[in-house]
Every structure is written in C-alpha cells, then in structure tokens.
C-alpha cells in the first residue's frame, strides 16, 4: 500500500485508539477461585489478627499482625505486651515491607546459582560431614537468639559431637561497656531495668534511648515522665531525638563526659545526701577517689559554663528519685566502661539503686565462644565449618574485616539469611530462611518475659526455616541424639499453652538481684584515652538514628525512603557539621565531604546544622562504619579528617525547611503556666458548617512527640503509599501523607528542635475544596476532607491552595516490585497516575468501625473504638484520634486544654487537627 498523508493519519488514529483502549481496560481478575477446602476460621473479606513478636531489633516488641485472605498486610503493637503497649517503632512498622521485598531470597544458592532444596540439603550435610570427618570444629555464628532457638543450636552441636559452647553470638551493636561498668561498680552481671517514668530528673549521658535499645518502651516512659512533671537533661556532642525531647541539652567537649559524671558524684557527696547505705570506709575511699574532680577542673575540661555543674548536682540531689542513664554510643569512647561505672556510682549515691534502677538475675545460659576467639581460631584454619544465622559481619565495614578474612579460611560456610547480604555472598551455601512472620520461635527480651513468635501466614517464597534445616542435616548425618523428633515449630508450641500463644507472651517470675556498691568502685580509673586516627582529624560522633535503629537492621526500601526526623534526608547518608566547623572547612550545605578515619574513607554530603557541637563530625551509624577500625566498640573512638571534594550532592530539604522563620508553627508554652492566649473566633463569609453527628479529628500533643516517625511509616503501610526512590525524592515527589516536620530554631540558650507531625488538617473551611473544578475533594458530614480519586483529574489546584502543603500528586504509576502487591491493604484504593491524594484520616477504618457498630445495632461509637493507623502506633500516644463532638472523648479533653491550638489558625481554616503546645522551661 502506498503511504499517503490520508491513510497515514487513518492508521495513526487506529494506533492511538488502540493505545487508549489499552489504557482504560479494567485490571480486575477474570476469575473467581474459591477455596478447595475453606479454612474454618477464615472469612474472606474480614481481617484476622494474630499475636506474634517483632524481630526487627532485639527489643522484641509484642505485635499484632492483621491478615487478609492469608496475607499479612499490617503489623501493630500488641496492647497486652509490656514492652510495646500496642505501639511499634518505624522499624517494626516496616517489617511487612521487608516480608514482600523484591530483594528477599526465595531459594537456596550455591556458587552464584539458584539451586533446589534437595541439592542444598545434601550440600549442607556434606559440608558438615567433611568437617566432622576431618575432626575440625563446627561453629554456629548467630545474631542474638535469646530463646529456644539459641538452646537448639547448643543441642544440635552436641548431637554432632561438638561442644555446645561453639555458639558465637554476633552482636556488633551490643553496648558491652554497660555490662562491664556494672560489673566494676556492683560486681554482678544482672540485667538492669530502668524506670524512666518515675524519675523526677532524668540525666542521659549520651544515651539515645529513643533511638537505640528498646525505643518504643523508652519513648513511652519518657512521655509518662514528662506528663508527670519530670525534667530531663541530655549530655552529648550531638542533639539526637532523645536530646531534642529533653528539657536541656548540655554539649560538653567530647571525651570529657567521665570528668563531668565524676564531678557530679563529688558534688552530690559534698551536698551530703548519700542515700545509699555505704560503709563509712567505702565512703571515705570514694571521697578520696573523687577528690581531683572539683568544680573548677570539671568546668575547664568540659567547657560548660560556670555554675552549670553545681546547679546540675543540686538538681540531681534534690530530685527524689532521679535517674542517670548511659553512656550511649554517641559518647562511648575508650573510657566507656569507666563512664558506665561512674554512672552506676552516681546512681548509687543518689539513692536510685532499688528505685529507678533495679537489677534482674539473668537466667542460666550456656557460655558461648567469644567472637575474638572465633576470629583467631578461624584465621588459624582450625574451624571446619561455620553456620551463619542472620549474621552479616561483612556488612559492618572494615571493623569486621579481620573476621571476614578469617571466614574466608573456613572450608565450609553456610548462611541462613533472608537477603543476599555481604557475608552470604561469600558463603559456600546460602539457605533462604523464612521471614519471622512465617515461622515459629520465641525470644526473651529480658528476664521474666518471653515473647512467642508464631507464623501468621504461609510463606510467600520457597523458603524453609533454618532450625528445621539444621535438624534435617543432623538426621542426614545420623546424629540425632538429644534432638527433637518433629519440627522446631512443634518444640516451641509444646513449650507454651494455647492461651499463651494466643496472647503472644509468657510472663515468668524474674528474680530481683540485690546489689551493693563495690568497695573497689572507681579505684582504677583509666587515663583519658586518645582517639584513634589522624591527629589532625576531628572527633567522629557515631549517631544512632531511629530509622536504622542502631544500624543493625538491614536497610529496607521503606526505611530509606522515610526521612530522618531531624535532618529530613532520605536515601542518603550525611555528615553533620556545625556552621563554624563548616565555615572553617570551607564547606556549604550539600557539598560532598571526604572523611578519612582509621578504617577507611567515605564521601558524604554535608548537613550544616547547629544541632551538632562545633569541632566534631556527626555521622549516622550506618554511614560511619567505613571509617571505623574495629579496635573498639562502634562508638566515639576515632578521629576523622574532613576535606571538601568540590562535588555537590544536593540534599533534599524538607518542605518547610528547617526554620520556623518566626511563625509559630510548632509552639511552646512555659512549663510554669502551660496556657496559650486564646484564639479569637474570626469572622467568615461562608455559612457555618454543621457536623450533625460526629466530627473526626486528631489531637497531637507536641509535648509527647519524640519525632520517631512511626506514624509516618505506619501510614505508608496502611494506606498503600508508594516508595518513589531517591531520584523522585530529590524532585520533591515524596508521597507521604503524614510527615514529621522538624524545626531547629536558634534561641538564646542554644538550638531548639521541635517536631510537628503534619498531615491533612481536615479543615472545616478547606482552601483546597473551593478550588477543585471537579468536586473531587469536599467536606463530609463527619468532618473529613475527602478525596475522591475517581473524580480527580489532576489539576493540582488543591495542592497549590493548601496552606499546609500536605497534598501529593501521583506523577507516575509507581512500581511495586516483587511480591509487594501481596502486601497491599485491600481496603484502600491504590491510586492511579494523575490524581492527587492525601491523608484520609484512615477513612476505611472509620467506615469499618461504623459498619460494625451498625451491625450491632449501635449508633454510638465508643471512644477509642476506631483508631487511625498513626494514632495506633504512636509509642507515646502523642497522636490521638477521635470524635471532637463527643464531650467524653480523649480528643475533646485535649482540645479543651490550655495548650491546644490550631495550625495557622489566623487563616480561619478551622482544622480538625488540634495541636497541643510543647511545655518548655524557657518558652
């Protein structure tokens, strides 16, 4: 056919038409496939909930998993669990994302190829057999497993004819200095339990308990402490989330924290309030040991202002009970153990031991092999086979390079893992383990408490549980003496009653451990340890961040996308520089800085902020790993040089920037009279809006918010928010419906950080509604600012007219790789390209709650019956969801508080979100 202009156009029409038709096809399944045999307790379309344990970090929060049609879609805290109390941190909220992540391993690997399980099991048995035949030891290198799995490793080794002590725990983030300091001070090895909530004055020596340790439990306790009128003071080189939550930040010269604590101890003794029943001789000895730390020495070394130390000591002695915690990673240098010892002594002198600090006896456990000994023996070629169990030493940079080299000398290394991590890549055999939501286990976060981990769904991938594979290998070798006959799951199930499994925990009696201060306490104080690394370098502060907890959690896409609460950065590391340090280095924000420490070099963009002390480098823990040399714990131990590279890597700035510019967005009130001036009602041209029955809203107490970002993460998972990736984040296309807006404002007393969880304000007079040409957004009778995606044509007028900047536009149909579709919440529409979206106040939860109440014949809803995802997971209950028209509801009580205010109230938008100003000593 001859191509003429006319038939070219004709065929073009056909092609274009076909393209459009393709575009408007429905993507619904063509079939209905019923169950072959319906599970008795499953009702399609109705969620089931299972209790289990979150294993994202060793805090082991109790969790409730919502399962729809056999697939876990959301994880919440378990309300009965003493650690989580119904809340989870961002790490726990992201567990679902990791369950379906495209990077998860679905089959065993060997030699760079995927292999079948038959071959993998044969290879495992063969590798073990060779080691046993050669009479060389078999070692299990595992993450901390405080439960029956740890015991099984010992039994398994015994069955193979090996000493049960050949279990090596790999815990690079363990804060070993705390135990060592406790041993020196009290001579015991119990588990310390801190009662943060009871302390009238809480002094944190660089202990970032909101970020590291047991973040949910600690944040809840901190909020309770503040609500009861307690004060808190943070000592450290960098303002962390914990520091931002404290009433006061004392920035001391790095490395002088020990001097400060000893100086405080001396002054407390001088104030004559040794509540601890110390023998007179011991007291005299202690006085002598503390003598060199007089106020002048402490002031000159720590460079604190004159009088601060005396004031602090007086405040500590006056507060009954008080509590000193720490030292945390940010201050844990070469003298960390001595610092921990000094903290314990100070607590004892203040009479806190037995009240806010108690000790529980550790259950008898098997002595394991030390990591150093394992490294030495493996390097010497003495180890025959190593079973890695979720341990990734090579992922921790040069600090564990020696262990990596030693592992390379082991003839057979098999790795149980969920992802092909750095160590698994070097292993001879990689065995894909179940996710923790797919398998049985148990874990004891502290004496007396056992969390039961039960599978909530059938596995997504072709994985197999590690414990059962080890049992199968023992059976294949014919060495089953003392091992269970069934699966490990049976063993776990038999250890607990039905009821305990249903509740997901077992509480046992925990033996309290009486302690008394050793006479030798503070006898052998070390000389100040110099920092390792280049002499010209600046002290490197390794900062734990809530996103990556203590750096242990392998980074999931969701946690990478989640902006760091304080800096606002996602998908990148950064180095924090004080403006004066940056100026001295000739570095501006976003300039790439080359850092060189004793471990190696890393290039990071600069985040110039007053929240870090001048003259130090603040680097988040995961990004600091390449700089460390492994000659001390991961903490404050090294110096690093910083030099501009001349390159720039723009760091995405949070929407509103870091400053309030005098606008009172995140407001404060003085703690003495916590009342804001009342907001006068403004005249309006619009007719009054009437909410006949209910007016849903949120009350956000900024006094309780620690900025952890659990709400943001929960919102991502609950509402099917897409992860857009680093490039689109840089373009400002983050899709988060709820963000933590952090402000750092300079005040006469230093920088002050405040957090403002910011989502749709559900305005009564919403500026977005009046500009929508298609009535896609409107105000419902229940007070919601609703967004109807099917009506939205993507003009983005609403986004432009929103004074809060909380509306998001879908530029693309965002990819959901791997099995991520399986984790979508079926109750929430997945938005298409070209529509605007924003916080719906979990409208599907409201609808479900109202529907269930109606089915019960009720029109009234109980307060707390419906909870939005952000409010449900808030560890401190800073966010409360409820009906503002119900006078008895918690939200109404908060709205009537003197601290309540509406964001940008002068615009007369009449938001449904109420903020409560933060109480500050100097507001």
């Amino acid at each position: 056919m001859k191509l003429t202009r006319r038939n070219f156009l004709g065929s073009a029409v056909g092609v274009l038409g076909a393209g459009l038709v393709e575009g408007c096809q429905e993507k619904l399944p063509r079939y209905l496939v019923p169950y072959t045999a319906p599970p008795e307790d499953v009702v399609p379309g109705v969620a089931r909930r299972y209790r289990t344990v979150c294993r994202e970090c060793p805090a082991a929060c109790g969790a409730t998993v919502r399962v729809r049609e056999g697939r876990a879609v959301k994880m919440e805290g378990s309300p009965e669990h003493p650690v989580s109390h119904g809340a989870l941190c961002p790490g726990g909220q992201s567990a679902i994302e990791r369950l379906y992540a495209p990077t998860r391993l679905g089959a065993p690997w060997a030699g760079g190829l995927q292999i079948g399980w038959d071959r993998a099991e044969a290879a495992l048995a063969e590798g073990l057999k060779r080691a046993l035949d050669a009479k060389q030891p078999v070692v299990v290198l595992t993450r901390p497993e405080r439960g029956q799995l740890g015991a099984l490793f010992g039994a398994w080794l015994t069955a193979l004819g090996q000493p049960a002590s050949q279990v090596v725990t790999f815990d690079p983030m363990a804060r070993g200095w705390l135990r060592e300091g406790q041993r020196r001070a009290f001579g015991t090895a119990g588990t310390p339990v801190h009662d943060l909530a009871a302390a009238r004055l809480l002094l944190s020596i660089g202990d970032d308990f909101v970020e590291e340790g047991s973040p949910v439990e600690a944040a809840r306790a901190l909020a309770a402490q503040r609500a009861a009128g307690g004060r808190s003071i943070y000592v450290g080189p960098r303002l962390s989330l914990t520091g931002a939550s404290a009433d006061e930040w004392l920035s001391v010269e790095p490395g002088t924290e020990l001097t400060l604590v000893l100086g405080l101890a001396r002054q407390v003794l001088e104030l004559g309030a040794p509540a601890a029943a110390l023998p007179a001789g011991a007291l005299q000895a202690l006085r002598g040991r503390l003598a060199p730390y007089d106020a002048a020495t402490v002031t000159s070394r720590t460079r604190l202002s004159r009088g601060t130390v005396a004031e602090l000591a007086a405040a500590l002695a006056g507060a009954r009970p008080s509590l000193v915690v720490g030292p945390g990673r940010a201050v844990a240098g070469g003298d960390a153990a001595a610092l921990a010892e000094a903290v314990h002594v100070l607590n004892a002198l203040l009479g806190n031991v037995g009240t806010t600090v108690r000790f529980l006896a550790d259950p008898a456990g098997l002595p394991g092999m030390e990591l150093a000994e394992f490294t030495r023996r493996a390097a010497a070629g003495e180890i025959g086979a190593v079973i890695l169990h979720h341990a990734d030493p090579l992922g921790y940079g040069p600090a564990y390079a020696a262990l990596g080299k030693a592992l390379a000398r082991v003839p057979f290394v098999a790795a149980f893992t969920n992802e092909l991590d750095a160590t698994a890549r070097q292993a001879h055999l990689v065995l894909a383990d179940h996710h923790f939501l797919e398998t049985w286990s148990d874990v004891s976060p502290r004496p007396g408490l056992r969390g039961i981990q039960q599978p909530v769904m059938t596995p997504v991938l072709g994985t197999r549980p590690a414990a059962d594979e080890l049992l199968a290998a023992a059976r294949a070798l014919g060495r089953t003496a003392g091992l269970p006959e069934g699966t490990f799951g049976d063993v776990v199930r038999q250890a607990f009653s039905e009821q305990e499994i249903e509740h997901g925990l077992k509480v046992e009696a925990a033996e309290p451990l009486p302690v008394s201060l050793q006479a030798t306490a503070l006898r052998d104080l070390p000389a100040p340890a110099p920092l390792r690394g280049p002499g010209m370098g600046l002290p490197l502060v390794v900062a734990p961040t809530i996103r990556h907890l203590d750096g242990r959690t392998p980074r999931s896409a969701l946690l990478q996308e989640l902006p760091d609460p304080l800096s606002g950065h996602s998908w990148t590391g950064w180095v924090e520089l004080h403006p004066t340090t940056a100026a001295a280095l000739g570095v501006k924000a976003s300039d790439v800085v080359a850092l060189e420490g004793p471990g190696g070099r890393v290039d990071l963009p600069a985040h110039v902020t007053p929240t870090v002390r001048a003259g130090v480098l603040g680097v988040p823990v995961g990004d600091a790993l390449p700089l460390l040399d492994g000659h001390g714990p991961i903490g404050l131990g090294v110096r690093a040089t910083a030099a501009p590279t001349g390159l720039r890597r723009p760091l995405h700035l949070p929407e509103a920037g870091h400053h309030q510019h005098g606008h009172e967005l995140a407001r404060s009130v003085s703690a003495a009279s916590p009342k804001l001036p009342p907001q006068e009602p403004l005249p309006s041209m619009y007719p009054p809006v009437i909410h006949p029955e209910r007016r849903w809203g949120l009350a956000i107490d900024l006094d309780r918010c620690t900025g952890c970002g659990a709400c943001t993460t929960a919102c991502y998972v609950e509402n099917n928010l897409p992860i857009v990736g680093p490039e689109d984040i840089q373009r400002g296309r983050s899709m988060s419906w709820l963000r933590i807006q952090a402000f750092v404002d300079e005040t006469p007393t230093g920088p002050q950080a405040s957090f403002l969880p910011l989502g749709c304000q559900h305005c009564t007079n919403a500026p977005c509604e009046s500009v929508c040409p298609t009535y896609a957004t409107y105000h419902t009778k229940e007070g919601l600012n609703a967004q109807i995606y099917a009506r939205c044509i993507g003009t983005r007028y609403c986004e432009n007219n929103c004074p809060y900047g909380v509306r998001r536009f879908n530029f693309f149909e965002w990819p959901r790789p791997g099995n991520e579709r399986l984790g979508l919440n079926p109750d929430v529409t997945v938005r298409d390209r070209g529509v605007t979206e924003k916080c719906s106040l979990c409208i599907h939860r409201i609808g479900e709650g109202e529907e269930l109440a109606r089915l019960e014949g009720r029109n009234q809803l109980r307060d707390g019956e419906i909870v939005s995802a952000c409010a449900a997971t808030c560890p401190t209950k800073a966010i409360v969801f409820g009906d503002l028209k119900d006078p008895g509801s918690e939200i109404s009580r908060r709205a009537a508080d003197g601290r309540a205010y509406k964001l940008l109230g002068e615009l007369n938008t009449e938001p449904g979100v109420v903020y409560l100003a933060r109480r500050r000593e100097k507001a």
């Binding site: 006319r6 156009l9 004709g10 073009a12 029409v13 274009l16 038409g17 459009l20 038709v21 393709e22 408007c24 096809q25 429905e26 993507k27 619904l28 399944p29 063509r30 079939y31 209905l32 496939v33 019923p34 169950y35 072959t36 045999a37 319906p38 009702v43 399609p44 379309g45 109705v46 409107y778 419902t780 009778k781 919601l784 609703a786 109807i788 995606y789 099917a790 009506r791 109750d827 929430v828 529409t829 997945v830 719906s840 409208i843 599907h844 609808g847 529907e851 109606r854 089915l855």
Partner: protein, 204 residues
C-alpha cells in the same frame, strides 16, 4: 471526504473507550448463548478417574475474554428448581463484605449423593478429589476503587435481598448481568431508601 480533523482521533478513541467500558460491565462474551447442558470442554468428556490438567489461574491480559467455565453450572437448577437459598452457598454474605463462592468441598456435600452422573458433577468430583481449585468466570464486577459490603446491605434496615441487585438469578441457567452496576443505579436506591449518599461511603 473531508480531510482528517485533528479532533477526530480523540473522538474516535473516546467512542472506542466507552465501547469497551460497556463491554466490560455487561456479561462476558459468549455467556448468554452457551447451552447449559452441553459439555463445554474437552475435560468434561474425559473419564473422571483420569487426572484433569490444572487450570490456568493467572490474571491474563487486560480485556482478554476469560475462557468458558468447564462446569456448566446452572443457578436455575440450584436456586430455581431446587429452591436452595442463596446464602446456603454464598455463606459469607451476611458476615463479610464479600459473599464468597462455595468451595468444591461444599458442592460435594450434596453432589456426593445427587446427580453424580452429570458431566459437570463428574468434573467437580475429579477436581475436589485432586484438591485442585475450581475456576469460575467472573460476572458481577465493581471497579477496584469501590468499597461495597454485602453484609451492610443484607443486614440493613432496608431489608434488601440478593435479587434486588443481582436480578432473578434463580431463573437464569447462565448468569448474566442484566443491568450494569453503575453509580447512578446505586445512588437511586440509596436516595429512595434514605441510605448514606456521601461519596466516601463507597469511594475510599
């Protein structure tokens, strides 16, 4: 003939687009004229003792018509002639947002004894014995951005019945969607029965 106008491709495309939407909301092609009792597939003629090949349960390309059901299930025979109530098989309708499709095992509860020799029942028996899932062509669909709850409708004060929306299924040998589920149809009823007419009732 006038030269092609720049507006024409769009108009034509719109017509095609509307056409396809109509096609998707009506019964799938071939549903109405398939004879109910004739064996529909080669599998039906096979001996039930022979294992049946597993069914393709993939989503398929968008717009691609679904293959015919291998069992010529007749609602007329069950709900009409035998007067089995809807909820006897669609058991979840009063307790869940979805009504549910009975499992093969549920079908065998009766068909162990009844009409054992019919070709469709023989296929059913073979599938259930092999623990293979059944596969039914979907007739009634709503867009995925719509929340609809069976239990809310069936247990509402309006005392709705299945046939109010689905039509007289009991009279149909092969079910087809007589009237499309459009927003207009939902809203007309909601208006008459004084049910909520808020957008967010269905759009979430």
């Amino acid at each position: 003939m006038r030269p092609a106008h720049p507006g024409r491709p769009l108009l034509l495309a719109l017509a095609l687009c509307l056409g396809c939407q109509r096609a998707s909301s009506a019964a799938p092609p071939g549903a109405a004229d398939a004879p109910a009792c004739a064996p529909l597939s080669a599998a039906a003629a096979a001996e039930p003792s022979q294992p049946l090949p597993p069914l393709d349960l993939t989503l398929g390309a968008p717009g691609e018509p679904a293959p015919a059901d291998e069992i010529a299930f007749s609602h007329k025979a069950h709900a009409g002639d035998c007067r089995i109530p809807c909820l006897a098989c669609h058991v979840y309708a009063t307790t869940s947002p979805v009504a549910g499709i009975p499992s093969g095992r549920k079908c065998m509860g009766c068909h162990k004894f009844v009409a054992k020799e019919k070709p469709g029942v023989r296929i059913l028996a073979a599938r259930v014995k092999a623990e293979q899932p059944l596969r039914w062509r979907r007739v009634f669909t709503l867009p995925d951005f719509i929340y609809f709850s069976h239990r809310a409708h069936l247990r509402s004060k309006a005392k709705l019945e299945c046939k109010d929306c689905h039509g007289d299924i009991a009279a149909e040998k092969v079910v087809r969607q007589e009237t499309p589920f459009t927003m207009g149809r939902c809203l007309t009823c909601h208006e008459q029965k004084k049910a909520p007419r808020d957008c967010t009732t269905c759009h979430r």
